[in-house]
Amino acid sequence: MTAGVPTEFIAPGPQSFDTPPIIDGVEWFTKPVLVSALTVVVILWFFWGASRKAAVVPSRLQFAGELGYNFVRNSIARDAIGSQEFMKYVPYLTGLFFFILLNNVAATVPLLQFPTFSHIGWAYSAAIMSWVIYNAVGIRKHGPWGYFKHQTMPAGVPWWLMPLMIPIEFISNILVRPISLSLRLFANMFAGHILLLVFVLGGEYLVFETGKIALAGVGVVTWVMGIAIAGLELFVQCIQAYIFVVLTAQYIGSAIAEDH
């Protein structure tokens, strides 16, 4: 604590997300890699443990696992894709949901405290995976030309407006979807984390570096606000995982829907 000697406050910025390699010399092994690997282990342990001794009267772990699985299966997959074909996509959607959820919530877990998807490459990869899947299942269902028509001919539009509408439909269904999917997830995680950094580091600066009692009091208020923001962030982290998977399911659903 260096009270009385004001040092300059360095605001957190994009550079705060540049994580050094955890082991010297192993360039690729950074914090997001560690966090995502840990989440994979946790998810494997959780669902393996939940289904290993499946019984009619479920254990607590099995109950929790079924709760999570049923949520994705019924509330996301079946509602968006329709009750005939949704089962094929439940494994992917469940895996995706829990992977994103745990990686987001890792931003709140003490010691980890890093949202993997605040590095945009991770968000791009997840979105590209969903993009490839919904286009692939659509092409398999309708054929390349049929799928192209399916995704570019808006339903219910008068014929004389078609030439103006078809490009919009194409751009929004094929090009904007993966971009908005990834940017939404990335920006929410990035902005939420940077907001927390501002509150916590700003509070620390006010309390320890300024050396003025009044400002130290403001710093304490800042910390209290920071805790409230952390609660809000926890909510946002869950919502973003949910939205990503709901939209993926809807894209799959609209790709395989029958023309009408």
Binding site: D79, A80, G82, S83, Q84, P154, A155, G156, V157, P158, L161, L164, M165, P167, I168, E169, I171, S172, N173, L175, V176, R177, S180, R184, I243, V246, L247, A249, Q250, G253, S254, A257, E258, H260
Partner: protein, 71 residues
């Protein structure tokens, strides 16, 4: 939008709002981009705003046809 023979009434689709967003971005980007290109081509300045407004308007029309008459 899909007409599956679901026995239960279809629930409100929570993702619709987010899909609408990608339509709006698509329309504005497309026609705004065309306007931007025309401005560059002819050295004018009015095609970009006209394109953006046109794109937004057409997208809203598209959304009206697409989602408006569902119920």
């Amino acid at each position: 939008m899909s007409e599956h023979q679901d026995p239960k009434p279809s629930p409100p689709n929570s993702g619709d709002g987010w899909r609408v967003l990608s339509y709006l971005i698509g329309g504005v980007v497309l026609y705004g981009g065309i306007g931007f290109g025309l401005d560059r081509l002819f050295g004018t300045q009015f095609f970009l705003p006209v394109g953006i407004v046109l794109g937004a308007g057409l997208t809203i029309l598209l959304l009206h046809f697409r989602y408006g008459s569902r119920s």
